[in-house]
């Protein structure tokens, strides 16, 4: 049994220890907001926070996540400035990559309260959006920053 703390809740899961955290989150915990896109950390759809840092959950064996504080898209409050900015700027299209984009953006704003375009490039370039919402992602991050996003640690 592996013990996990996700979005402040404790879970015990019966999964082979090498199972990527992504699949445990999706299939064992039923939190399907975290998405599979590539399985090789090239797209960012599976981004979660581990102890406040944005990480690709497809690359983390579940055993390595034991004892750490994991946050998924479901753990970010609806009132979070990033989620609000995402709605205001109408960022989403198909929506598949958006939880990962939001998790990366929340982590960025926790590090840098007023990120520059360059900061956004370096924090968000690992998140692919096939629908091409990048311009709106950028705008939403600036708006969330202006609204005083204080970070992803809640």
């Amino acid at each position: 049994m592996i013990k996990l703390t996700v979005n402040g809740k404790r879970y015990q899961v019966d999964a082979p220890p090498d199972t990527p955290l992504l699949w445990v989150i999706r299939e064992h915990l039923g939190l399907t907001g975290t998405k599979y896109g590539c399985g090789i950390a090239m797209c960012g759809a599976c981004t979660v926070h581990i102890d406040g840092r944005a990480e690709r959950s497809c690359q983390i064996p579940v055993k390595d996540a034991e004892g750490k504080k994991i946050t998924t898209i479901e753990g970010i409050p609806d009132a979070h400035p990033v989620k609000k900015a995402w709605l205001a700027e109408e960022v989403s299209q198909c929506g598949w990559c958006q939880p990962g984009q939001i998790m990366s953006a929340v982590a960025l704003l926790a590090e840098k309260r007023r990120p520059s375009d360059r900061d956004i490039d370096s924090a968000m370039t690992g998140n692919i959006c096939r629908c091409g919402t990048y311009q709106r992602v950028r705008r939403a991050i600036h708006i969330a920053a202006a609204a005083g996003a204080k970070g992803g640690r809640k």
Partner: protein
Amino acid sequence: MNDIMNMSRRDFLKAGAVLGGGLVLGFRLPFAGFPFEAAAAQEAPYTPNAFIRIGSDNTVTFIVNKSEMGQGVYTSLPMLIAEELECDWHKIRVESSPVDPIYNHTMFGPMMVTGGSTSVRSEWERLSKAGAAAREMLIAAAADVWKVDKGSCRAEKGRVVHKSGRKLTYGQLAERAAKLAVPTEVRLKEPARYKVIGKPRHRLDSPEKVNGKAEFGLDVHAPGMLTALVARPPVFGGKVVSFSAGRAKGVAGVTDVVQVPSGVAVVATGFWPALKGREALEVVWDEGEGAGLSTAGMREEYANLAKTAGAVARKDGDPDGALAQAAKRISAEYEVPYLAHATMEPLNCFVDLRGDRCEIRTGTQFQTSDRNAAARVAGLKPEQVNIHTTYLGGGFGRRANPQSDFVAEAVQVAKGVNKPVKVVWTREDDMKGGFYRPMWYDRISAGLDGSGNLVAWRHTIVGQSIIAGTPFESVMVKGGIDDASVEGAQNIPYAIPNVLVDLHSPKNVVPVLWWRSVGHSHTAFVVESFIDEAAHAAGKDPYEFRRALLARHPRHKGALELAAQKAAWGKKLPAGRARGIAVHESFGSFIAQVAEVSVSPKGEVRVHRVVCAIDCGRFVNPDTIAAQMESGIVFGLSAALHGAITLKNGRVEQSNFDDYPLLRMNEMPKVEVHIVPSQEPPGGVGEPGVPPLAPAVANAVFAATGARLRILPMTPEAVLRAMKSA
């Protein structure tokens, strides 16, 4: 009629009843003009169904028959209904429709499908009338209650209001309205009175996409469900000779290993054990004739074909004679590769097959085809198959497959396991899985007279037909011409007296399919690049050159002028930057784009800004148009800069986003979208943003460096090569 149909019909009515005996408006609307109507009626004598359901709690549910894959139909189609229904926008809910003839496409014939950038165009009238009819019935119900004349009542924000000031909500009126006859004639609003249409609206699907609750196909879960991965042949057209399941079955969590026509499925309790199991599976393949195929060899074959005469798609005047007599002749070859759709959500399909019914949950664009395919595989009637359409994590045409590959295969797997099963494709499976945009080779020549006027145009196109071999072949391929191969080339708008467009459609085992903007994705690149070459040969400004040739095409010209004006065409740019322009019509819309680029000494193309002007006629949601243009531009730029699927020894050489890169945030240009005011009939917006992008960028690279990029993608190596030969 059978149980499943009755079931879904009962469920519909029951759902209405649960919501307080509300109004479930079923329309077979009594208006003419839709050629499919008779055929659809014959296909199933099943009339009641619904686009609108109003509950006694005042919720208004719109049942949408188009798949939401990012293009915004779960907002734009409700806007059409809401405009006439006069309901409270905040009380609207959206449901995906089941598969039923009443939801068939109004332009494409008896099938339920989302594609061709047609959703708004094809549903505008039907949904407006649905909303108007419902409104009239609610007004009639209120007039009935108050014993007043209908004319003294009006509808607003989900209520009927009498001139005396009395009010009843739609919820209060729903049950009574449901008993009234559906009006045979309804009057639609004059556009001047629109309150919803034409103004930006927030997407109804955004909240659940932002909080992670939106359900996509891959998120589907059912009690006892298993997950399957399929080992498919390494070469298209390959077959299983034999397999050994022993080691795969030894992986904890693997429950079954079953052979299916497309390969061998490893079924397990979850994705990871299924993946591990598939890695342990041993299969001997017969690779078949495809094993000898390589794109390098195909390129040679295509280049040779392009030198010979093909099936004639268009012939005006005497192109060969005019070319021979021209004062100046130019000619060139253009090449574009196979492309993968690479939707962010890899393919997947959930199937629950039990006895005489089959429940499918997946993100599909083509429910009718998939349902028929599932029925064939399961040995059921189509009516015994139900498809629940989830959100699609991207479609771009890949999920509208006349061969229903991922759905038919999933039903095959389900037949082998007797439990609910979800077949999941890894990214690698998806990338190597075929159904690509075809690879194309074009040979093109033009002749100019002594004053630099275009007098001849000769364009030979070589590439696979995406329609050949599908049920659409008999309708869509005429005289050897697949319209989808020549669209955008055959109908070039430029005033040229002598034109020849011909086509070769070689066949091979690589499966091909429509890819966002279909034939236009390649023809616009060739035509709009070569018209630029012609302008250069004539010594004229590429914008003015086009403009002069578009006198009889005001919508092309209007878009071109707006884009040029907004991009400050002709004004100086900082050193190293240059502009390129392109204009193209597709899917009923006219789009011009101006790209501003620079090229590094290493040959890297950087696109700084794209100005886009669109004339899509009357439109519903301007913010959706902006979003779709941004989206098409990014899609086009991914392909222009990076996209290529290549084959060697029959094997696809790409597998994931490391070797099939997509545009990323750090490469994103500034995009500006301008809409040409227009009262023309509505055009599409999902696809038309793609075609002009690659030529606009290539033309800008030419303006910046003098290097003409005739081969996509514009990799640094290709750019350096072109710069050297410039």
